[in-house]
């Protein structure tokens, strides 16, 4: 008889520190499993990398000439665009959190996890943590491609790290929203569509591609308060200089608010499943 079965027979609950450690361990194991999925589906990784690169090239070269006129003097569109594309790509990729979760639900893998004595949080944390690590990889790769077409982090190395951290935090926070979507919507395809319906308007009605002051008044107001704009402006200021604190504080406020709402919602939904 194994140690864990013997523990169950012994009766008393595990001490709190052991439980916390086990939750961490379980989350790490599930994260490792999800990362392995990325490696086993290279086509998925390739396309989720090619897509933002395609956006970089298309927008930089197609719209660059037209948009450069409305940018602050001395700022090139590639420098302006890249931080926006980082955020846009992170936003699109966060919908994959819902898809991955929905697939696991469909295939009964989550049922098996739930019938096992593992920490309740491990499935959710393992999912969002793996998606965060994927974001690190894709974002650095995009920055490298940016360097090839003339993008530079002009505000220095520390700010550059800050810019990347803002992008990663943004993606992580969004994946909790899509964790909830994945737990609520049935089926991977439905999760995918639900994600795009929400993400498209948010991304385009923001400062991702163009300065918001070029938009009509109502839209400008919407874009101005959007968490996407706050994140882009913070990441952009950290990349090429400009006002950092205002957008950064606004972005962090959004991140905290979203996590405060959606983490408990996800946990509640996961516990209430069935």
């Amino acid at each position: 008889m194994s140690a864990s079965t013997a523990a169950a027979e012994a009766g008393p609950a595990l001490p709190a520190t052991t439980r916390v450690w086990r939750a961490v361990e379980d989350s790490l194991v599930v994260t490792g499993r999800n990362l392995r999925h990325f490696v086993r589906q290279p086509q998925l990784l390739i396309f989720s990398t090619i897509q933002p690169i395609m956006f970089v090239l298309l927008f930089a070269f197609v719209f660059g000439g037209a948009i450069e006129g409305s940018l602050p003097p001395g700022v090139t569109y590639v420098d302006y665009l890249l931080p926006g594309i980082f955020i846009q790509a992170a936003a699109f990729r966060s919908t994959q959190t819902a898809v991955g979760l929905a697939e696991d639900l469909d295939r009964g893998v989550i049922d098996r996890f739930r019938s096992m004595p593992i920490a309740r949080s491990a499935v959710l944390v393992g999912r969002t943590a793996a998606d965060l690590l994927r974001n690190v990889f894709v974002t650095l790769l995009m920055a490298a491609v940016g360097y090839l077409i003339g993008f530079r982090f002009r505000a220095g190395p520390f700010d550059a790290v800050g810019a990347i951290l803002v992008v990663l935090a943004f993606g992580f926070v969004l994946s909790w929203i899509f964790t909830f979507v994945g737990l609520t919507v049935r089926g991977a395809e439905a999760a995918q569509s639900a994600g795009f319906v929400a993400i498209f308007p948010l991304v385009f009605a923001s400062s991702v591609f163009v300065p918001v002051r070029t938009m009509p008044a109502g839209l400008e107001w919407f874009a101005g308060v959007s968490p996407v704009t706050a994140s882009v402006d913070a990441a952009r200021a950290l990349s090429i200089g400009g006002e950092v604190w205002d957008p950064l504080v606004q972005a962090l406020a959004w991140f905290s608010a979203i996590l405060l709402v959606f983490v408990p919602l996800c946990v509640w939904r996961y516990r209430r499943m069935g």
Binding site: D26, R112, G274
Partner: protein, 329 residues
């Protein structure tokens, strides 16, 4: 003998549908209880409640005295679950699957690896251990799924339709594994829509239909409950059917409660062998040619028909719910 799993007045609804309607069941430790019923009878729902995946709406369920709702974490330490749809990870190899589940059962890395190798060997998957599950056949997946639920040697194993959709050879392989587990003293709750499977593998059978347990006992007890044995006659000429029926009635047989194929008659034989002899004489007197005449005990299908008016699934055919009388079985 102690009780491994017990339900009392268990109720579970899905919107308007009552999936479980006051189910009382007991599984004795070391025994195999078969839950036999057609699709949608509530078998999977019952297993999911016992495996802590679904909360009951009323009543209670316990596993080794642990309540599946209030003591769910402890229940999860002692159960193994193999679902109808193999819940293994397609993108991982067989070995990685078993190691993953071993790690999640908190085995140290090395112990998880050793256990994975042992199970791959035992379930005849050693050669395929390093291939991704995507490339596995249905039978291999099911074996891996079973292996996954045996990582920590659970005290009770729930097998939800372990052979549904498998080819006959894979089915026999799974049966072999199940028998071996039973020999080792594992307690099993096995759901199935196959009569033969219930007959072959289980100690007791609970017949479940529309969320209710409608009969319970050993296979023999259930067969006896239907009553008399049957005389089965195969006619040389289909046209003789009506005359044969009259002759059999004269010989002491009783009206069948379901119809057979055109050239066959199955009728109750209240006096067993004596009725058979009388029936044979009566057919002979009437000059009716018979190619086969036999006495058979009721089968589980007869039990099911008697209880629900429908056939259960026999070897891969879908159950005919409310099969109209006159259709071939």
């Amino acid at each position: 003998m102690s009780i491994a799993a017990r339900t009392e007045g268990l109720v579970r609804r899905f919107d308007e549908t009552v999936a479980l309607d006051r189910v009382d069941l007991e599984v004795a430790e070391g025994s195999v209880l078969g839950l036999l019923g057609p699709n949608g009878a509530g078998k999977t729902t019952l297993v999911r409640v016992l495996a802590t995946l679904l909360r009951p709406d009323a009543g209670r369920a316990e596993v080794f005295g642990l309540d599946v709702v209030s003591e769910a974490p402890k229940v999860r330490e002692v159960i193994g679950l193999t679902g109808q749809f193999a819940a293994v990870d397609e993108l991982l190899t067989g070995r990685e699957n078993l190691r993953l589940f071993g790690r999640l059962f908190h085995l140290p890395r090395r112990a998880a690896a050793a256990r994975a190798d042992e199970l791959l060997e035992r379930f005849d998957l050693a050669d395929a251990g390093d291939r991704t599950v995507k490339t596995y056949s249905g039978g291999m997946r099911r074996r891996l799924d079973l292996a996954s639920s045996l990582i920590t040697r659970p005290r009770i194993l729930f097998l939800d339709e372990p052979t549904t959709g498998l080819d006959p050879r894979s089915r026999v392989a799974i049966w072999g594994i199940v028998r071996e587990l039973v020999r080792e003293g594992m307690t099993l709750l096995l759901t199935t829509q196959y009569l033969e499977e219930a007959d072959q593998l289980t100690d007791r059978i609970a017949v479940i239909d529309q969320g209710r347990v409608i009969a319970e006992g050993t296979g023999d007890e259930l067969k006896d409950s239907v009553g008399a044995s049957m005389v089965q006659v195969r006619l040389e000429r289909v046209a003789d059917r009506e005359r044969a029926r009259s002759a059999l009635l004269i010989g002491g047989c009783e009206e069948p409660d379901h119809a057979d194929q055109a050239g066959e008659l199955t009728m109750a034989a209240p006096d067993g062998v004596r009725t058979v002899a009388a029936a044979a004489r009566a057919l002979d007197d009437a000059g009716i040619g018979v190619s086969d005449l036999s006495l058979r005990r009721p089968t589980l299908d007869d039990v099911f028909l008697e209880l629900t008016g429908a056939h259960v699934e026999v070897d891969g055919h879908r159950p005919e719910v409310d099969a109209p009388v006159g259709e071939p079985a």
